[in-house]
């Protein structure tokens, strides 16, 4: 069983490699960020399989932390696109305010 898990995990790494290609190609920043998101999900799945392969189930905690913080970078990214990194990516009116605010002081 252990070999099976490792084989699958290697397969997952290859899909992560595909995502790396998309981070490289872009073309948009959004593409790069979402591909990084896939690496996060794939990484979580890889860790689950590693835990099963080695029987070290404490590794699940690492997957848990990774899944918990998966959104952190993406949120920082959508924030960074608006204003000085603190705007609301969902609100047009406040976007305008944020843009006005970012004019040189």
């Amino acid at each position: 069983m252990s070999s099976w898990y490792l084989l699958l995990a290697t397969g997952l790494l290859l899909t992560i490699g595909g995502a790396l290609w998309r981070v490289w190609r872009g073309p948009d920043q959004a593409d790069r960020m979402m591909a990084a998101q896939l690496v996060g999900t794939g990484g979580v799945a890889t860790i689950l399989l590693l835990a099963a392969a080695t029987g070290e189930w404490a590794m699940l905690d690492v997957a848990l932390v990774l899944a918990l913080l998966a959104a952190l970078a993406a949120i920082a990214f959508v924030k960074s696109v608006r204003g000085a990194g603190h705007g609301d990516p969902e609100d047009e009116a406040q976007n305008d305010a944020a843009r006005a605010d970012e004019a040189p002081r």
Binding site: I16, A30, A45, L48, A52, W57, I75
Partner: protein, 111 residues
Amino acid sequence: MSDLFTIVMTASGLVFFAAGTLGLIRFPDTHSRLHALTKADNLGLGLIALGLAVQVPGLADLFKLVLIWALAILAAGATAQLVARIAAPADLGEEPQSPPDETGDGETRRT
């Protein structure tokens, strides 16, 4: 028996991951690539977690598996929404059935 279940489930999980990556590489624009990512990958993760659920030694580990999947779905749902809103609207031109982009103003292209 449970080993067979695990093998089938984890293998199908990998298939979904592969499909997601294929979509990420092959789909023509940002918004359809978002679809590939958020749906296929989280299904793949769910299948792998389900397959391993019959192997974990304790109830706590089972709970962790469920929590991991729930968190991954939550994160993917929220971030896909947010990133889709700021993705460059040029992509939308090729995709008429997409909802109108409320906020996109092409700022993603700036840097």
